[in-house]
């Protein structure tokens, strides 16, 4: 591990994981879901709205509003405000920004909020105008959306890394088993490997259960000083280390790794722990290939060994490698930008011991990673954080 000279996150507490129950479709707006998440944070923490002096927001469907418009909508007057349009990396990035705001004194209590709605036609509209490059050079090619983009990455991964459909299937099946213990998961039925393999093709080699399902919902958490958290009597989690990276490895002809590979030494160096010390892992999972990529890049196995790694582990909450313990987006649903918070909020639950019957025993150190924004041919944003329960 290399020495890391960045400032630590000492004295920062992350607390109060909140989820606004997911629904497949909603006639409400993103504002509605984010408002519910904020209300949930206040109800859980006992804080008044005026106590929140920092806000960090992510939501694809807030348009034409940004975080600014939302403040008037919700009647907030924060002295620190951030809007993070980074999709699946927004949770990690929000955590980093909010922690520094609290450390510097620019804010004392930051509400981190991500949410989106899902109307019957809103997903199509989002992907049709997702980015300039996507509109110019991807969407006119079959308009498959992220399914097509991840089909390319999966096809390449299988051909060059030797991963098999069964490997990806094992991840999806285990996550479904975890989801059955998570009350907010939209997928309520068990999934067998046979069902996974025989599902209808969507964008070959991807089939139905490889693809995340868009839905509506919201997630939130609070960042404050540890001292404040103790005074309030809330359970909290400490931040050991974090990383983020954008547009890593631009010269790779196709995405076979992400920014985590570039920055993992910095992550573990700052955290003072390594992959072996981690008890619970929550990685971004809109498609299983990206789960495989993160496990490799974050050092849980050597590059190229992911197939045998998957075959020799079990990924349920009671398994040898508890992974995506709420079922991940693949079994809970992808509520737009809230997908970037899902793993982080679940990790807070695991590390504060409130994960009920999916609680990983002795969960002490958790790793959360995020991945976002298929701008053209690959996801550009990556991030990760190592967290530790406060009382350990």
């Amino acid at each position: 591990m290399i020495a890391d000279t960045r400032a630590t996150y000492d004295g920062v507490a992350v607390a109060v994981p909140v989820t606004v129950p997911y629904v497949r479709y909603s006639i409400r707006s993103a504002h509605w879901f984010i408002a519910r998440a904020l209300a949930g944070l206040l109800a859980e923490s006992g804080l008044a709205k005026q106590d929140v002096d920092g806000v960090c927001v992510s939501g694809f469907l807030l348009f034409p509003d940004t975080a600014v418009g939302l403040m008037q909508h919700l009647g907030l007057s924060p002295r620190w405000l951030d809007h993070i349009p980074m999709g699946g990396a927004c949770g990690i990035v929000a955590l980093r920004r909010a922690a520094r705001a609290v450390q510097s004194g620019d804010a004392s209590i930051v509400a981190c909020l991500a949410g989106d709605t899902n109307h019957v036609d809103s997903f199509r509209q989002t992907i049709a105008s997702f980015s300039q490059f996507a509109r110019d050079a991807v969407y006119p090619y079959g308009s498959g959306g992220p399914n097509a983009s991840f089909a390319f990455l999966t096809d390449y991964h299988m051909r060059t890394r030797g991963t098999r459909r069964e490997d990806f299937g094992k991840l999806c099946v285990a996550q479904r088993a975890n989801a059955l213990k998570y009350p907010h998961a939209l997928f309520r039925k068990p999934l067998s490997l046979e069902e996974y393999l025989a599902a209808r093709p969507i964008a070959e080699p991807l089939r139905l259960f490889d693809c995340v399902m868009p839905c509506a919902g919201a997630e939130g958490f609070l960042v404050m000083s540890a001292e404040r958290a103790r005074r309030m009597g809330v359970n909290y989690v400490r931040i050991l280390g974090t990383i983020e990276r954008h547009n890593a490895y631009p010269d790779d002809p196709i995405q076979i790794r992400g920014g985590w590979a570039l920055d993992r030494d910095a992550l573990y160096g700052q955290a003072g722990v390594g992959p072996r010390d981690v008890n619970v892992v929550e990685v971004y999972d809109d498609y299983p290939v990206i789960v495989a990529m993160q496990l490799e890049d974050l050092g849980f196995c050597a590059a190229g060994d992911i197939g045998s790694f998957i075959r020799s582990r079990s990924f349920t909450v009671d398994g040898t490698f508890p992974l995506n313990t709420s079922g991940g987006q693949l079994s809970v649903g992808q509520a737009g930008a809230a997908g970037g918070y899902l793993g982080l909020v679940e990790c807070l639950r695991q590390l504060t011991g409130v994960a009920a019957d999916r609680q990983v025993p002795d969960a002490t150190v958790g790793l959360v990673s995020g991945f976002g924004m298929i701008n053209y041919d690959r996801g550009l944003c990556s991030g990760a954080a190592v967290l530790r329960r406060a009382d350990s």
Binding site: A128, P140, G142, S143, A151, F152, Y156, A203
Partner: protein, 415 residues
């Protein structure tokens, strides 16, 4: 290997004709540069004139050195297919009606990774491919991955046929069968596998060499057509308009005079009647029904071809009034292109140099042989190109015009 397409069955008149839908057309302005070159049948990418880095997707600044000096430069399109998918689900109506749809990711030898529509004859990755640009049904450039070497029935690929206007098994109207160009077009279309060819003719009292022989082609039906007569155009459209897949308007009236060399407006008026108003009459009578048939099965209405002239771009004073009438027709053809676009019917504008015929007798060679012009039109239909400039003279004019149209104007004025 692509299955050759078959002659379509007779249309069931009870079934509804589907409404045409288009693939997604929104593009940034800078990305329309790809469409501009694809309209000419070329594949070009932006190249940084400072550091030579090749860019894709189209950009406003060089991804390598941040220069804003990016120029569209022709590329070979050679590359390697590294990944593929077969879409079985699409968010867009156009593709949803045409699933499954094959796509590839190609690393071009010149650098960038591109997403392409993948021809059915390209083997699975890793495989060498040739990438080219085509205009899709929306008239926007898209990239297509072709097999490294040509294979049999390549043009019959289901996806490719959505981007081209191959006359095979299609029904075509050629508005003038009497001119040498018209005769060459009819023979070329017959050889290309057109299903039916309606051939218009006017002035039946005037015998023209080669015209009667067209009757011996089994696909050909000769029909009287005077495009200066609105009622005649209307009647013909009522008779065959609902069946025409490709309309080629090659009627032209060509006289050789400027302003001072012929007093009065009679000849200029006659040129406008045929070259400009004739097109307008055809467009008003055949346009709506062709628009309605933009998605009428395997052989839907696909193309409208206008025989213009390179003189439409900049006036050739020796043929000054003819040039003006062709300039008017060109402008109207741009309007027609915009109006046919929602149906996915391509308007192909042909800008030939002087054709080797009576009215160009006094122009020096090289002059364009009618058969060469016909071949160029057929190639444009097959390749899905939008603007063509057949012949050496036209090629030189367009190069001069693009470099500096004002200089060309002065060159032509001086003679």
């Amino acid at each position: 290997m692509t299955e050759p397409i078959r002659r379509p069955k007779r249309k069931n008149p009870v079934l509804r004709t589907r409404q045409p839908v288009l693939p997604p057309w929104p593009r940034s302005r800078v990305a329309l540069g790809l469409t501009a070159v694809a309209a000419d049948g070329r594949f070009a990418l932006q190249v940084c004139t400072d550091c030579r880095a090749v860019q894709y997707p189209p950009r406003e600044a060089c991804h390598n050195c941040l220069s804003s000096s990016l120029a569209w430069r022709d590329q070979s399109g050679d590359g390697e297919l590294i990944s593929q998918t077969l879409l079985q689900h699409s968010h867009d109506l156009f593709f949803r009606e045409r699933l499954p749809w094959r796509l590839g990711m190609v690393v071009l030898d010149c650098g960038p990774t591109v997403v392409v529509h993948l021809h059915g004859d390209v083997p699975p990755p890793p495989a060498r491919v040739r990438v080219g640009a085509r205009l899709d049904k929306a008239g926007m450039a898209v990239l297509v991955g072709f097999p490294e070497k040509d294979v049999a029935n390549m043009a019959d690929d289901k996806q490719l046929r959505e981007m081209t206007c191959d006359p095979k098994f299609r029904k075509v109207l050629v508005t003038d069968g009497k001119s040498p160009v018209g005769q060459a077009l009819v023979r070329g279309l017959a050889a290309a596998g057109a299903d039916l060819i309606w051939v218009g003719y006017s002035e039946p009292w005037k015998r023209t060499a080669g015209f009667d022989e067209l009757k011996s082609l089994p696909q050909v039906t000769l029909l009287p057509l005077d495009i200066t007569d609105g009622r005649a155009v209307k009647e013909l459209a009522g008779e065959i308009g609902g069946k025409v897949d490709i309309l080629i308007n090659n009627v032209e009236l060509h006289r050789t005079s400027g302003i001072a060399s012929r007093y009065g407006t009679d000849v200029a008026r006659a040129e406008m009647e045929t070259n400009y108003l004739g097109l307008l009459r055809l467009a008003q009578e055949f346009g709506p029904v062709m628009r309605a048939r933009g998605a009428d099965g395997q052989s839907s209405a696909v193309a409208w071809v206008n025989l213009l002239s390179i003189f439409a771009l900049s006036n050739f004073p020796a043929h000054g009034t003819f040039s003006a009438s062709k300039a008017a027709a060109y402008s109207l053809a741009q309007c027609l292109r915009a109006e046919m676009r929602p149906a996915g019917v391509r308007v192909i504008n042909v800008f030939p140099g002087p054709i080797d015929d009576e009215w160009n007798q006094l122009l020096p060679p090289p002059k364009l042989a009618p058969a060469a012009l016909a071949n160029a039109v057929l190639a444009a239909l097959r390749d899905g190109v939008e603007d063509i400039y057949p012949g050496d003279v036209a090629q030189e004019w367009i190069a001069r015009f693009r470099e500096n149209h004002k200089v060309l104007e002065r060159e032509l004025a001086v003679g």
